[in-house]
């Protein structure tokens, strides 16, 4: 009942390794006790293992050392690897990003942590003009094997300057790779892939996911585990409507799919995992199967990830669409603080359910006020 797919895992720099992975996480059939792992722990273990395997990998950012990380992602690493490899930086995003890029030019593999990607705007010149474009501008002489990571998007009650989603910003730039994990398996596999990759990678985490636990198999826990960059994951198979999502929204989409199933709508939920490169073939194959598409994201709607997915599907699978593409995004306002307002400014499960129903030509009331 579960299919097994032989997948090529590109361990960025190493040779591709064939991996056998179940398509659906039916791990009961594998071993007796399934381990639960928090996303925070998944990221920490991935960092630890990559730093252990390659002495060129080092971590830098505000509060990553003595404080164990603003969100405790780097807990224990300073003690284990010492201050040369876990650098507490002064408060200058522009400074430490530039320094990280310089170290990468030399040949080290920095992992630069932004306390939140909102602060990356103070360093964005270095991310775009010094990191993303360097390999091209120097015609391959300067490669930048750097990872920029940190929480992205809305948390809870942190207001406009702490809730912005940068997926669309960075994913528009050629030369960057942009990843966004959802589960602990995603967090481990994608962070390892990002660190091993010779290109600059923007790694968008989510603060609210740090404390969530997910089941992880023995394979995921192995230190050589790695996920391919550029491949989306079908979290739930379906046949009536395709829902694309990334990061926290994947969880909401799965909940929406449960609700839709009770009403006779079988939704296929795609966890993008990789925003750039976008897995257009998986998305299009799914839409060709279901004929209906709902894109969901937390970020602002104009020029968002959903806009790109919609364009891609129109370009490649126009004839297969039976309904207009539905696009769910955050409200087009800077994030308000008050809890009731904030709730209305981000997509909720009900919004996804309603959009899926509209795509299936079910009559639905206009979006509820609260």
């Amino acid at each position: 009942m579960w299919g097994i797919i032989r997948q090529k895992v590109a361990a960025g720099g190493g040779s591709p390794v064939a991996r056998i992975r179940p398509v659906v996480s039916n791990l009961r059939n594998y071993s007796s006790a399934v381990k639960q792992m928090m996303v925070r722990e998944a990221l920490n273990s991935a960092l630890d293992e990559e730093m252990s395997a390659d002495p060129k990998v080092f971590l830098m950012g505000e509060e990553v050392g003595e404080y164990q990380g603003a969100y405790k992602i780097s807990k224990g690493l300073l003690e284990k690897y010492g201050p040369e490899r876990v650098l507490d930086t002064p408060i200058t995003e522009a400074g430490f990003t530039g320094i990280g890029v310089g170290a990468a030019y030399y040949g080290l593999k920095p992992v630069v942590e932004f306390m939140t990607f909102n602060f990356s705007m103070q360093a964005i010149d270095h991310i775009i003009n010094s990191a993303a474009k360097s390999n091209y501008m120097s015609s391959g002489q300067i490669s930048v094997p750097i990872v920029f990571r940190g929480p992205n998007g809305a948390a809870a009650g942190v207001g406009a300057q702490h809730s912005h989603c940068y997926a669309a910003w960075y994913a528009s730039v050629p030369g960057l790779k942009v990843l966004s994990p959802y589960s602990s398996e995603d967090a481990r596999g994608l962070l390892k892939a990002a660190i091993r990759d010779p290109d600059p990678v923007v790694f968008l985490e989510n603060e609210l996911l740090y404390g969530e636990s997910f089941p992880v198999s023995a394979e995921v826990l192995d230190s050589s585990f790695c996920l391919p960059i550029g491949k989306a994951k079908i979290e739930r198979e379906g046949k009536d409507v395709t829902i694309t999502a990334f990061s926290k929204i994947v969880g909401l989409s799965l909940k929406a799919a449960e609700i839709l199933a009770k009403e006779g709508i079988s939704a296929e939920v795609i966890n993008l995992r990789s925003i750039r490169p976008l897995d257009r073939s998986t998305i299009n194959a799914s839409v060709r199967k279901t004929n209906r598409l709902v894109t969901v994201e937390e970020g602002f709607p104009q020029h968002g990830v959903g806009a790109e997915i919609c364009a891609s599907v129109i370009e490649e699978s126009f004839g297969y669409l039976d309904a207009p593409v539905e696009r769910i995004a955050g409200a087009d306002v800077p994030m308000p603080y008050a809890a009731n307002l904030e709730r209305m400014a981000v997509p909720q499960v009900e919004d996804i359910v309603r959009a899926a129903k509209r795509a299936c030509y079910r009559s639905v009331p206009m979006a509820a006020a609260a």
Binding site: F58, E84, L87, T89, P90, T92, A94, G95, F96, T97, G98, I99, G100, V101, G102, A103, A104, Y105, Y106, G107, L108, P110, D125, H126, N129, S130, S134, N135, Y136, M137, S138, S139, G140, Q141, I142, S143, P174, G175, K177, D197, P198, D199, G230, P277
Partner: protein, 380 residues
């Protein structure tokens, strides 16, 4: 209660070795330079000066699209390059091609980059003067101002982690000290104890902005102390002073694991670039005064002549042979083919992604179908 004054009574003194006539001051101490090194320094200064003249003219004639000169700053370029070693990482701004010249970049290689032809190491990706060469440890020039400063600190930090007997050396102008990256880099270099030499070419002008509009401090040198960085002010038109200061800085940077700031006072004799006409914002006689009486190349020549290492005949021979070489390189570079269209699509990532491979394929098909719509001098 006592406020620290915004400026001190006296300006920070300037280290000099040679007077305006190229003779060492009686009480000056400096690092000795052998005849061989001095001759190479002079040769390279003349070559740099000649290359600038010829390439600038080539832009004026419409043969290259853009150029900027290093006129007046030849000593900073060549003497600093001579005082460091090949293993030291150079992270330039854009007015330091002399450092690359010293390390062995040929006239032909310079010309190829300016013409963006298929022999250009940059594969025609960047504007002229954006040179770069891994094998010469000279990071590719990028247009953004002062971004190279934190890069140099990062590279220096990495050199320290690797325990290499080498440092990072980075250059910037007076204008670059206003950027946030200058602050972050100096601050960081001191905190991380990185072996990096910051060389500020204070040439008085940032395009049309004079230093009086750039900062109100006593130049760049005083800023070093604010960050805990050891600093020195040097006569930038005095090749021996530059050589000694950079030599000493390198020993301290590597031996003590610390950053050093060197402010080299000089004057930008040329226009900012070929897109600028500096006579519009500064007096012509000011430019002429610096160009004639303060020329660093002339001053150094007087010194090597007084040592009996140089004379007028060798001078003419050198100038004419260098001129011929450069003209030849220019002609060859102009004739050479442009980069092939595959160079449009490579190096965006380490491994070319499928969308770019598809686009390249599609482009080739289109060119095959409509060859008359595409330039004939771009090789497929």
């Amino acid at each position: 209660m006592r406020f620290i004054s915004e400026s001190s009574e006296e300006r920070i003194p300037c280290y000099r070795v040679l007077d305006d006539d190229g003779q060492p001051f009686p009480d000056s101490s400096f690092v000795k330079v052998s005849e061989g090194v001095a001759i190479k320094m002079y040769n390279d200064m003349v070559t740099l000066q000649t290359m600038d003249t010829i390439f600038y003219e080539a832009q004026r004639q419409g043969r290259i699209s853009f150029y900027l000169t290093t006129s007046g700053e030849e000593a900073i370029n060549i003497a600093s390059a001579a005082a460091i070693k090949n293993d030291d990482f150079v992270v330039p701004q854009y007015r330091e091609p002399g450092v690359l010249l010293w390390r062995g970049f040929s006239m032909q290689e310079f010309a190829n980059q300016c013409f963006g032809n298929k022999a250009d190491y940059g594969k025609g990706r960047q504007m002229p003067i954006h040179y770069g060469s891994n094998k010469h440890n000279y990071f590719t020039v990028s247009s953004t101002i002062a971004t190279q400063l934190p890069h140099a600190v990062g590279a220096a930090y990495a050199l320290k982690m690797d325990q290499k007997d080498a440092c990072a050396v980075t250059y910037f102008g007076d204008g670059g000290t206003s950027e946030g990256d200058f602050h972050a880099a100096l601050n960081f270099s001191a905190v991380t104890e990185a072996p990096v030499i910051f060389i500020c070419r204070n040439n008085g002008w940032a395009i049309s902005t004079p230093i009086s509009d750039q900062f109100r401090s006593d130049g760049a040198v005083v800023k070093g102390r604010a960050y805990g960085v050891r600093s020195i002010r040097v006569d930038g038109n005095d090749a021996l002073a530059i050589y000694s200061a950079v030599h000493a800085a390198r020993e301290m940077a590597i031996g003590e694991g610390r950053p050093i700031l060197i402010e080299a006072l000089t004057y930008r004799v040329g226009h900012h670039t070929t897109s600028d006409d500096s006579t519009k914002y500064r007096p012509v006689d000011e430019i002429e005064w610096w160009r004639t009486t303060q020329d660093p190349v002339t001053r150094f020549r007087k010194w090597i002549e007084s040592n009996g290492w140089w004379n007028g005949d060798i001078e003419s021979e050198l100038r004419s042979s260098v001129r011929k070489q450069i003209l030849h390189a220019l002609q060859e570079a102009e004739k050479a083919e442009k980069p092939p269209i595959s160079d449009l699509f490579t190096d965006v990532y380490d491994v070319s992604p499928s969308n770019l491979r598809e686009q390249e394929h599609s482009l080739r098909e289109t060119i095959k179908k409509h060859p008359q719509d595409y330039p004939s001098n771009v090789p497929i």
